[in-house]
């Protein structure tokens, strides 16, 4: 059987994790190809709606990563983000959407190896959980046309 290859999107901040991922590259540490990185100025900029959008558009997992607490380039963006993720997580859990598909992490500009680890672990984890079909099913159902076309 063909192995399931999950799609992951990574939302990362420019100053820590993006730079950390650059370091992974310069250190030539290999990791899984299943991730696509999107650069944000700060974790504080990451709207929870973007995570929803990623899932609605076919992502099986999302990695969110930024500076360690107290290391934010903008002093407090990651603290605000952390509260947002805590709330978002709580909400998803309550709605029965297992937040394990969202992997949050702090990766500093010096943690190239940690970034590779995070990606590999995340890909493995999502691979184990399987494709996010429930969510994608939602996308297509419910239109009357589907009703009368059977």
């Amino acid at each position: 059987m063909e192995q399931f290859e999950p799609k992951l999107v990574a939302f990362v901040c420019n100053w820590c994790t993006y730079a950390g991922a650059d370091l992974t590259g310069t250190s030539r540490i290999k990791y899984a190809t299943n991730v696509r990185i999107i650069r944000f100025p700060c974790t504080g900029r990451i709207d929870f709606m973007l995570i929803s959008k990623a899932f609605a558009n076919g992502a099986d997992g999302v990695i969110v990563s930024g500076c360690h607490p107290n290391d934010c380039h903008y002093t407090s963006g990651n603290f605000h983000a952390r509260r947002r993720w805590m709330s978002f997580n709580a909400m998803l859990t309550f709605m029965g959407i297992d937040p394990e598909r969202i992997i949050f992490s702090w990766v500093s500009a010096a943690e190239g190896a940690k970034w590779a680890d995070i990606v590999n672990q995340s890909v493995e984890k999502i691979r184990k959980i399987g494709p996010f079909t429930e969510y994608q099913k939602l996308v297509q159902s419910g239109i009357e046309e589907e009703n009368f076309n059977g």
Binding site: N57, G142, I143, E144, E145, N147, F148, N149
Partner: protein
Amino acid sequence: MTPETKIIDRVALDKLYESLKAAGNKMFAPVFRNEQTDFEYNPSAAEISYSHIQTTQSVKNTVFPKIENLFRFESGQKSVELVQIDFTKVPRVIVWNAHPCDAAAFSALDAVFNWDYVDEIYNARREKLVVIGMSCIKADENCFCTSVDLGPGSVKGSDILLTPLANGKFIAEILTDLGKSIADENASLFTASNGENKEEVLAKVEKHFSHEKVTENLKDGFENPFWHEFSLRCIGCGACAYVCPICTCFDIQDESKAGNGRRLRCWDSCGFGMFTLHTSGHNPREVQSQRWRQRLMHKFSYQPDRNEFIGCVGCGRCSRACPVDMNILEQLVELEKIEVAAK
């Protein structure tokens, strides 16, 4: 055709339902679920509710669904291609057990969707629609069909109208050719009528106001302080419009991914603040009182003017659904009494 009257008992009625369903018709019948009664597609005969006074939602979903595709599109590198909907695939839908108010509402919808623009998709659905009505033997304080020229036993809009009798049987009035064809196909299920009188069992619904008077009062009532006074309580949600059998406001949206997608329409409400917002930033109905006025004027003044019917069948759903007790009957009674503002 000349209407004829027959009798059908409950067991036969269920059989009729199942056979229509088995024949590939999409059945739309009321079911009690989640503490309320509402129409659903293809429930089993046993699930169908016959004891409710009114369903939460109307039956307009059968011809004017809350979401429907208008067309699909696919884009290549240089151009976009439209894929039209094949209306011939619209299935026959049988509305089962609709109260006379709901049945009557279809004629209002017909008028709206064929007024200045003939709405193909609506008509495609409408042509395939059969209405099996059910007279009301119960009513509540929100019902006012008699005030809008209808009644608990009104036959308007039904192909067959059933009326439950005390003995558990139903009077079946076969009203249209369509109705007759159904009755004929299942003739064995019906028995002859013995002159049972449906008026005896019908619910008593008091006539609360004269809609002609309301319409007349509204003619010069645009600037009436009434609107402000009576709409202060309104919070501007769309509950009334969404449950209304006649409200037809809709929104058109495109949904696409990677250049492919569909154009669809979905319900909207004139009660929403941004419904009439112009790109310029101007909003002709800026405050809720203007929007509430629009709702009542549209139903009781503009539509009588334009389409010669009132946009209301007295089903009372809006009053029941309203979270803040904007009771339409109460307001219509007031509007009948109100002095036309001095010109």
